[in-house]
Symmetry: C2
Subunit: 120 residues, 2 copies
């Protein structure tokens, strides 16, 4: 299992079945059996998926008689969006600057190289 939280969250959502379960849980809490119903896999496999989601902090499980209602914890999403937004903004900012440089150059100049794109 990945040590860092960000790796766990990304890995958990890398599986389409698990993303599907998150989508289902966004509508409302559900039991393991309810979550397993739409899929052509055993309830044990679904239980494993839920454990991955739980380890990532994406869901929590309580107890209610024999049932184990699963609950979506939306806060962890922020971890990802913060990471993503940081580097997206950084990359976009870089392009803005590159465009400025290109606009300030004469038309017959050479195309941009690695060095020009990566000013150190």
């Amino acid at each position: 299992m990945a040590a860092d939280p960000l790796s766990r969250v990304f890995a958990a959502l890398a599986d389409p079945t698990r993303r599907d379960m998150v989508a289902r849980l966004a509508v409302g809490d559900a039991t393991v059996g309810e979550l397993a119903a739409p899929y052509d896999v055993t309830v044990q496999a679904v239980s494993k998926h839920l454990r991955v989601l739980e380890d990532a902090g994406l869901v929590s499980r309580s107890r209610e008689a024999q049932r184990r209602p699963v609950h979506l914890e939306a806060e962890v999403f922020d971890l990802m969006t913060k990471w993503i937004e940081r580097y997206r903004r950084q990359a976009e900012e870089r392009y803005r600057r590159l465009d400025d440089v290109l606009r300030s150059m004469p038309d017959d100049d050479a195309p941009p190289t690695t060095q020009e794109r990566n000013p150190s």
Copy 2:
């Protein structure tokens, strides 16, 4: 390899080394050798990581003499943020409604159950 684009992007970013490379590339383009330098792995391993990032659409590689400058493609991030935001908003909206229901109930009522949290 995962078939759907979203799975590929999430899986690509589930590895801390690859996230690190994305962070490096947000600063500017780099060659495979430059990207490999900080890590205690072979350049072949780094080349494999870059292939994963490329298959996910997160980076592109051009040619420049023997070098293969790697370039960050920030647009794919939108795929993820859209997915994340959709379900986060949905979950938050659900809580807002749940809070309204709870507030409208008498104090001595039972704690919320799965059914109450999942009105269908």
